[in-house]
């Protein structure tokens, strides 16, 4: 055997961290760590109580000390005694009185702002801490940390460089879809949560969230050429755009595919660091990376600022393209997977914690490999072999599904919330209007609409759905196909993959002669999609997500929240969203005939049982309302940031030094130079 390969193995660098043994615990890293830390407080109280005390007195906001004045309270024993005395003193005060009424006395005893906004809340927080010290449990540790600014998370940088990140005319453009929706919804929810949480600590601080993306001077009809853009429905959050610069430091004016942006990311991170410092008037408290490029930049910024880094992959390309590691050299010209996979393992290992939408994203199912799991070992022949690229058993993975924006996506039968003019407008656009941006006219608009909406990418497989509809007489007899994707004018598309799909769509419409049975609309503005779903539900239609693979599927929960019976691929995230036959259907999307079979069976059931559509519709709404909401997402994400902060302070900070140095080598020797070279052979497509 030839053993002269470069082997990459991160595993030896994880010896500082406890390891999860039971695969059933993967995806709930924080609970594992809470148990580990609380049992340490119990079994090694001297060491861990001291750590806890030191951590509590570390925090400041804009130079103002929070929680404990370390000059007045110098050690854990004094701290514990003072806590008991303070609790006793507070007992005799009006519990509803504000913090200001006890501020002077608390300060005198060494307590600073942050314990609560009222006497009652301050007392509860102190009691929780005393309970934690005397009888530590994971629940008490999480509960205490969630109540105090330890640290204060009020400034968050969310990194998403690629695509067209904007709120106007951006969705549906290449590389621009679910991730943008996810982030904008996330920002709104996080800001709302932080305002409430910070107020409860007694602090008067306005949280600020900045989405860092790329400024595209040739912005077309979008706002992507503007440096700053306020995020709708927020008070203090905005999109900050920083341009890419090439090796000559000239600003890159055109859009660049996500597969070819690697040469620009390091300079982008350096420029962005300066801009973020100025925006936040200091460093952020948390950095959240998104997708491979955003996570790489997040790692560079997190290193620079020394703050907690959260990684969100959205989708890892490795499992999307079969054997893309093995055949990397053939695909390098178009996809540059060698850079992307190196960047992925770099940021997975650098980040403090990783959020996924589903458990499958991490470890797959009984039968199939998870997206993160596929990075455990792989090889890029003649470049390197990965012996261990990601430690799935390290407690950094946490499953937190996103939610739906309840203002936009609510059930179709909540008539009072719907705007009539908008409803009528979408009724006409989806079913009747003759317009130069819409293709097709329906001979029988009264038939059940089969609706889909996605980017016009190969992986989204809209052409697979057209083919399924084309090959099924039963479906054509009972239903119309209505889809919103890309554009009907091929000359308007600058993306080669999209152009291929557009051509394929026209060919299929012709070959199956689908005229009169199909309508094709351009991508729908995000703010209108809720009403589009509801109008389809008014017609007792269905939503079909025919993607070949879906990491999560925001459109799936949006359609379900609107009351549409939804069909989704049985590969990936939808398996954890839909309960088959109860709140929707899962189907094998790998072949059009299998999609057709699945839809035919539902159409037939609806004929036999008039209640079939209503039952699935009601269950879909219930499922989303109960399990996918942004409120609990925000609470959990902020708790994670604080708890991993304590974890970094108490244990991982020192342990991660060696891992960080190994990551540096990987960055400098396998990524940086290769990325710079990419620019020289063209990254303009």
């Amino acid at each position: 055997m030839n053993n002269s390969h470069l082997h990459i193995d991160f595993m030896p660098f994880y010896d500082f961290s406890p390891s999860i043994r039971d695969t059933r615990t993967i995806g709930n890293g924080i609970r594992f760590l809470n148990r580990y830390m609380s049992s340490n407080i119990f079994s090694r109280p001297a060491e861990w109580n001291a750590k806890l005390f030191e951590f509590i007195q570390l925090h400041q906001h804009n130079g103002r000390q929070l929680l404990v004045n370390g000059t007045l309270i110098r050690d854990f024993d004094t701290f514990y005694n003072t806590l008991e005395k303070m609790l006793e003193w507070l007992k005799h005060k009006d519990q509803a009185a504000p913090y200001s009424s006890v501020e002077r006395r608390m300060k005198k005893d060494g307590f600073e702002v942050g314990w609560g906004n009222t006497v009652g809340r301050i007392s509860e927080t102190i009691r929780t801490l005393l309970d934690l010290i005397s009888e530590p449990t994971d629940h008490l540790l999480e509960h205490f940390i969630s109540r105090v600014p330890m640290p204060l998370i009020s400034k968050i940088a969310i990194i998403s460089p690629h695509g067209w990140f904007g709120q106007t005319n951006a969705l549906g453009k290449p590389d621009t879809g679910g991730q943008v929706i996810y982030i904008l919804d996330q920002v709104r929810a996080l800001e709302k949560h932080l305002v409430k949480e910070i107020r409860l600590t007694g602090l008067d601080v306005n949280p600020k969230i900045v989405v860092l993306t790329r400024l595209i001077p040739e912005a077309q009809d979008t706002t992507c050429g503007q440096r700053k853009e306020e995020i709708f429905q927020t008070d203090n959050s905005h999109i900050l755009r920083v341009p890419f610069r090439d090796s000559q430091y000239n600003i890159v004016k055109h859009w660049v595919s996500r597969f070819k942006i690697w040469p620009y990311l390091e300079t982008f991170a350096e420029d962005a660091a300066t801009e973020l410092l100025s925006e936040f008037k200091g460093r952020p408290d948390l950095i959240v990376g998104n997708y491979s490029d955003g996570n790489l930049v997040a790692s560079l910024l997190s290193d620079k600022f020394d703050v907690i880094q959260c990684t969100i992959a959205h989708a890892l390309e490795k499992t999307k393209y079969a054997f893309s590691d093995l055949h990397w050299q053939e695909n390098e010209q178009d996809y540059h997977f060698s850079l992307q996979y190196t960047a992925d393992i770099f940021s997975m290992n650098k980040s403090d914690f990783i959020i996924t939408s589903t458990l499958q994203e991490i470890i797959g199912t009984e039968d199939t490999m998870g997206q993160y799991e596929s990075y455990q070992f792989f090889s890029l022949p003649q470049l390197y072999q990965v012996i261990n690229g990601v430690n799935l058993f390290a407690p950094k993975f946490n499953v937190i599904p996103p939610g739906v924006d309840e203002e936009l996506y609510f059930p179709y039968d909540q008539k009072e919330k719907r705007i009539q003019t908008k409803q009528q407008q979408w009724e006409r656009r989806l079913f009747h209007d003759d317009s130069e941006d819409i293709y097709g006219r329906l001979d029988h608009p009264e038939k059940m609409p089969i609706f889909t909406m996605a980017r016009f990418d190969k992986i989204k497989n809209i052409t697979g759905l057209i083919q399924a509809f084309g090959m099924s007489k039963a479906l054509q007899d009972a239903a119309n196909l209505i889809f919103a994707a890309g554009t009907i004018h091929i000359e308007d598309s600058s993306d080669s993959e999209e152009r291929n799909e557009i051509t394929k769509a026209y060919d299929l419409i012709e070959s199956y002669n689908l005229h009169g049975k199909l309508r094709w609309l351009p991508s729908i503005n995000k703010l209108d999609t809720g009403e589009a779903y509801r109008v389809i539900a008014d017609h007792r239609g269905i939503f079909v997500q025919p993607a070949l693979f879906e990491a999560f599927g925001l459109t799936i929960i949006e359609a379900m929240a609107s009351g549409l019976p939804t069909f989704a691929p049985k590969f990936g995230g939808p398996l954890e969203i839909i309960e088959y036959g109860i709140s929707g259907y899962l189907m094998n999307t790998s072949k059009p005939e299998l999609i057709a079979k699945s839809l035919e069976s539902f159409v037939e059931n609806c004929h036999k049982d008039a209640n079939c559509w209503d039952a699935i519709s009601k269950n879909s709404i219930k499922r989303v309302q109960e399990h996918f909401n942004w409120k609990s997402y925000s609470q959990r994400m902020i708790n994670l940031a604080k708890l991993y902060g304590f974890w970094r302070y108490a244990v991982s900070g020192k342990g991660m030094v060696e891992l960080d140095r190994y990551c540096d080598l990987i960055y400098h020797f396998l990524l940086k130079e290769k990325a710079q070279n990419l620019e020289s052979y063209g990254s303009h497509e």
């Binding site: 055997m1 053993n3 470890i363 490999m369 998870g370 792989f378 090889s379 799935l392």
Partner: protein, 120 residues
């Protein structure tokens, strides 16, 4: 290295496994993922007229359904076997199907690389 077939397959299935390996080797397949491996197994069952019980309950099927990757390299069949979530074993199978040994991850990655390099 030792032959692990006895530990994995029952005696009855070992003969079938030999046939399966020869069948697979003659298929001129490339590199297969799990679905492809299951399809090869079904094609083998069809050709050798195997009953439902064998297709669904045999020790051979229970072993093969957890195989994630299969390819020919250096005159052997190489298999990636995911015996539990996120846990793997790597096997090299002689083309007469008589002998299967467990190999190390690095050997497996080397064989995988050689599969691609051979095609260039």
């Amino acid at each position: 290295m030792k032959n692990v077939l006895n530990a994995i397959l029952n005696k009855k299935d070992r003969r079938d496994f030999r046939e399966f390996v020869v069948f697979v080797t003659n298929q001129k397949f490339g590199i297969c993922l799990r679905n492809g491996i299951i399809q090869l197994f079904r094609a083998y069952c069809d050709q050798y007229k195997k009953g439902l019980k064998f297709r669904q309950e045999s020790s051979m099927f229970n072993f093969l359904k957890k195989a994630q990757e299969l390819f020919l390299a250096r005159e052997t069949l190489v298999m990636l076997h995911r015996y539990a979530i996120a846990k793997y074993r790597y096997y090299r199978i002689r083309l007469d199907g008589e002998y299967m040994e467990e190999i190390s991850l690095t050997d497996y990655l080397d064989l995988r690389d050689s599969y691609v390099m051979k095609k260039k």
